[in-house]
């Protein structure tokens, strides 16, 4: 197989030491060692082959090996290979080394479908969980396609749409889980990817579907290879771009939906295997299509066998899908300095700039008035014992509401500014404070509090959350200094940190510990625990950081023009980036400590400001700040009253309301 790599004209010549062969061989050795060790323990003094293929019906140990252990191993290999294959195709089509089967919203769509079916149509689950999941995943992917359709499924737009849909669906998921946690334990497990098997049904389901996928992929191979060129080059060679992208992505979605529907969400393999293989020297599509599934299968097998080896000594069930992500994040961090990424703008068309509104000051005043009106609404109107009430004179009620409203406004404002900074800094509309991983760092700190000092109050939570944010920030700054804070690298490091955090969160939720629900509530951005002091502190923090951000307007104007233009216009790249990054990190940490790491606002507010015609840096910054505060205040108010007496977290509502609007805008463009 390595020969075919070398013979292809496009591939650079590679010696054995640079090919994925050695890594795969190493992993294969690992699998063999673990298998032998495992079987020795499980079947002392029995012929293995007989147990594996024709178990003695009277010996329960042989039965367990035949109906549970072996199908699980096969399942791990199949799922790893399928996900890696889907990931390779997606990365090729989207021209983005970060694309993965979860990028198109398949996983969150499938999970939402399962949650909804569990709650309201359990009859559907009798037909089969996998079909429900597949329908949900497919629908989510269709939504993503339809959002990006008008732009000819351009890579950048497609990823943006996938991200937005994913965030939106997981916000819906989270709110349902908050309200109906008792029914959701199975969905938590499923969401974290457990490979546990007790019959051959799963393998029987997946194997023919993987075969079908491979068969359908064959005729697409040649045109897909031409996607290495840019759009015009590929078009001039007669490649029907729209059809090619649609059909190959549909195929990849189908493959990932199959896996997701049987074993749940195992996200990282689909991202890591193709990226590793490319890095290890498989440059051509054909080579990657051979090596990535091999590596994916082996990676997942090793992970799963190690987990079974460890699980005996651990009380909680460790879901494999979450564990791959836990192991994968450090791997990604190690990979980053070695990954060759084109700097500056991603390839493909950049988003069309909306028309500039001629009088930005007037627009800002309008936005300010809207913010004031929503503040009044949030403070005065609310549900109580006797239904809806207008009460501005009841000091006791105001005592409860004022800190929450203040904190929501301040947090929204900070996230919006952070989002504007990051989007301008990276020239990437996908960027948001969440991507930096700072909020994930703060969240890790809070998890530590919940589980190590379970009965501590808010001060300890604030302290450890802040420490987590700070450590993440230092890691981020340390790792990106070498590359001069190149935009894409910073984003990648942030994503790796977020992935690590996600995995941990998923493991905790799947462990079924009732404390997980506290975590869930904080993670979805609740202002419930805000006291008057905290609210004042956050407001002060927001005001100071806003003042610190204003002088950066010139940098923000020039940096999106690209490295060379900005340099030519006299911007010191390293210094300006460091300052902006630090500012964005502080803003994110401040907001996260109050309303949790969910930060749709950071993505949304800068976009909204642009759509309203505030295209220059300073008006956009201020407009986004006002919009962010308004949306957050309204979200907090809705969350407190929509399902009274149940209160939904503000961050959750913000992403539900904001996300829907954002999708509409994306579609209209």
């Amino acid at each position: 197989m390595t020969e075919s790599v070398a013979r292809l004209p496009l591939g650079p010549r590679q010696g054995f030491n640079a090919s994925p062969f050695w890594l795969c061989a190493l992993l294969l050795l690992g699998v063999a060692a673990l298998v032998i060790n495992d079987l020795t323990l499980r079947l002392p003094g029995t012929p293995w082959l007989q147990a594996l293929w024709q178990p003695d019906e009277g010996d329960i140990r042989q039965l367990v090996v035949h109906y549970s252990w072996l199908p699980r191993l096969c399942m791990a290999a199949l799922c790893g290979a399928t996900l890696a294959l889907a990931g390779t195709v997606m990365q090729q089509v989207l021209r983005n080394p970060l694309a993965s089967p979860t990028t198109l919203g398949v996983a969150s769509g499938a999970q939402l479908a399962l949650v909804v079916a569990t709650l309201w149509a359990p009859g559907l689950l009798l037909i089969g969980r996998e079909w429900v999941a597949m329908a949900g995943g497919g629908a989510a992917a269709l939504l993503v396609f339809s959002l990006a359709w008008k732009r000819g499924l351009a890579p950048l737009t497609l990823i943006l749409a996938g991200l937005v849909v994913s965030l939106y669906l997981s916000a819906l998921n989270t709110s349902l889980m908050l309200i109906q946690q008792q029914d959701m334990n199975a969905v938590f497990i499923w969401g974290s990817g457990s490979l546990s098997q007790n019959s051959w049904n799963g393998v029987d389901f997946l194997l023919p579907r993987l075969g079908l996928g491979l068969l359908l992929l064959l005729p697409l191979l040649r045109p897909l290879g031409l996607l290495e060129l840019d759009d015009n080059g590929a078009k001039s060679l007669g490649v029907p771009l729209q059809f090619l992208r649609f059909s190959s992505l549909t195929l990849a979605v189908f493959l990932s939906a199959c896996v997701v529907s049987v074993v749940g969400v195992i996200g990282f393999i689909g991202l890591a295997a193709p990226a590793l293989v490319r890095l290890l020297g498989a440059r051509t599509l054909r080579a990657r299509l051979i090596w990535a599934p091999t590596l994916g299968a082996l990676l997942l097998c090793v992970t799963d066998l190690s987990i079974q080896y460890l699980a005996g000594s651990l009380a909680e069930l460790i879901p494999t899908g979450a564990a791959t992500a836990l192991l994968g994040a450090p791997l990604l961090l190690w990979l980053l300095p070695r990954l060759q990424l084109s700097g500056g703008q991603p390839r493909g068309e950049s988003a069309a700039a909306p028309l500039r509104y001629p009088r930005p000051t007037l627009r800002l005043l309008q936005l300010g008035a809207v913010l004031l009106a929503s503040l009044l609404l949030a403070l005065a109107i609310g549900k109580g014992l006797e239904g809806w009430q207008w009460q501005l004179s009841d000091l006791q009620l105001l005592d409860w509401r004022l800190p929450r409203v203040t904190a929501a406004a301040a947090a929204g404002l900070m996230l919006a500014i952070a989002g504007t900074l990051i989007q301008r800094l990276t020239g990437n509309p996908m960027a948001s404070p969440e991507v930096l991983g700072i909020s994930a760092g703060a969240a890790l700190g809070l998890i530590a509090v919940l589980f190590l000092l379970p009965y501590s109050g808010l001060p300890a939570q604030l302290a450890l959350g802040g420490l987590g944010a700070l450590l993440t920030l230092l890691l981020l700054l340390g790792m990106s200094r070498r590359s001069g804070f190149a935009a894409e690298r910073v984003l990648l490091i942030g994503i790796a940190i977020s992935a690590f955090f996600d995995a941990l969160q998923v493991i905790i939720l799947a462990g079924g510990d009732p404390r997980g629900q506290n975590l869930l509530s904080w993670l979805s951005g609740s202002t419930y625990f805000v006291t008057a002091q905290t609210a004042f502190g956050v407001l002060l923090c927001a005001a100071l950081l806003l003042l610190a951000a204003l002088p950066c307007a010139r940098w923000l104007e020039l940096l999106p023009l690209g490295d060379s233009s900005a340099k030519a216009l006299g911007v010191h790249l390293g210094k300006s980036r460091f300052y902006l990054l630090l500012l964005a990190a502080l803003l994110t940490a401040g907001a996260t400590l109050v309303v949790g790491p969910l930060s749709f606002i950071g993505l949304l507010a800068p976009h909204l400001a642009r759509l309203l015609g505030l295209t220059r840096a300073l008006p956009q910054l201020l407009g986004a700040a006002l919009l962010g505060a308004t949306v957050m205040v309204l979200a907090d108010w809705l969350g407190r009253n929509l399902l009274f007496p149940i209160q939904l977290p503000a961050g959750l509502l913000a992403s539900l309301v904001g996300g829907a609007y954002f999708m509409l805008c994306l579609r209209k463009r």
Binding site: Y67, W69, P122, N198, S199, E316, N518, F529
Partner: protein, 286 residues
């Protein structure tokens, strides 16, 4: 500020009062259950609908106000209700500071590292009885349930019983196995049954595992608590390993009606009663 002063006065008033608290708000279902067992009806409980669905007995009267989610009981509503005591468990300690602005808060722990679940439940019953000056009712409740468990023990000791896994199904591939620290372990010990799951458990006394773990004790029987999650029965019917487990082949799998696994003494009593009924039906005629 005026409101704040008034609130302070109210708090002082409550503490100074000699009479036991009358208007009690409860955030935890286990505490609510114990409270009802002592003959006291709270004015408000968090997630009343969930209590009625998952705990059921003792029944919660219709006029008890719903406080919303247990992790975030509605503060505005609670302050309008003007309770004179709020009962929580350490699990919901995060909201304690907020709740203390409304009324005195008492935290009661059924589950702790120091005591097993059943002893914890007894302790909580005593603490609660003392708080409400209903010590006699509390001791009576504890004695009644101890006596009931002893009665079950005597009945079950006549039968040749295997070890039992106590489980709830999460889906067709995974179960929660209850062991050390759980309330069920306490009941098993007192009615003289052996738990087949001797492995490690978490803070709440359970572990999550794939159903292949049920094969580790081939002689054991399985007691699971309903309801089965949707699709689970179908999934188990299709599962080759499940069908070949000795306990399934030899029909030693018993489903019991729902019991809320994280509750107090009354849940223990209910579980023991269900055990007695089912096991004497299964093993009594031999």
């Amino acid at each position: 500020m005026r409101a704040w002063l008034a609130l302070c006065l109210l708090l002082i008033g409550c503490v100074a009062q000699a009479a036991p608290p009358q208007r009690i708000a409860v955030i935890d279902w286990g505490i609510a259950e114990t409270l009802l067992g002592l003959g006291v009806t709270p004015i408000a409980v968090a997630q009343t609908e969930g209590y009625r669905r998952w705990v059921g007995t003792p029944a919660l009267p219709e006029d008890v106000v719903d406080l919303g989610l247990r992790i975030e009981p509605n503060l505005e509503l609670l302050s309008q209700l003007k309770p004179d005591l709020i009962l929580i468990t350490p699990q919901f300690a995060a909201s304690r500071a907020q709740l203390e602005r409304i009324a005195p808060v008492q935290s009661l722990a059924i589950y702790s590292r120091e005591a097993e679940g059943y002893v914890g439940a007894q302790q909580v019953t005593r603490e609660l009885a003392a708080l409400l000056e209903r010590e006699a009712e509390g001791e009576a409740l504890i004695e009644r349930i101890d006596a009931r468990l002893l009665q079950v023990r005597q009945r079950l000791s006549q039968y040749p019983l295997p070890a039992f896994y106590i489980a709830t199904f999460l889906d067709a591939r995974h179960v929660r196995l209850f062991g050390k620290q759980s309330l069920y372990q306490g009941v098993l010990d007192r009615v003289g049954l052996r738990n087949a799951w001797q492995g490690p458990t978490n803070y709440w006394g359970f572990t999550q595992a794939g159903i292949e773990r049920l094969a580790e004790q081939p002689q054991a029987a399985l007691i699971y608590l309903e309801p089965l999650p949707p699709g689970t029965a179908q999934g188990l019917a299709d599962s080759a390993l499940w069908q070949r487990l000795p306990m399934v082949r030899e029909q030693r799998v018993y489903g019991l009606p729902p019991v809320w696994s994280f509750n107090g003494l009354l849940a223990a009593e209910r579980f023991a009663g269900l055990l007695e009924q089912r096991l004497s039906k299964e093993y009594g005629h031999d």
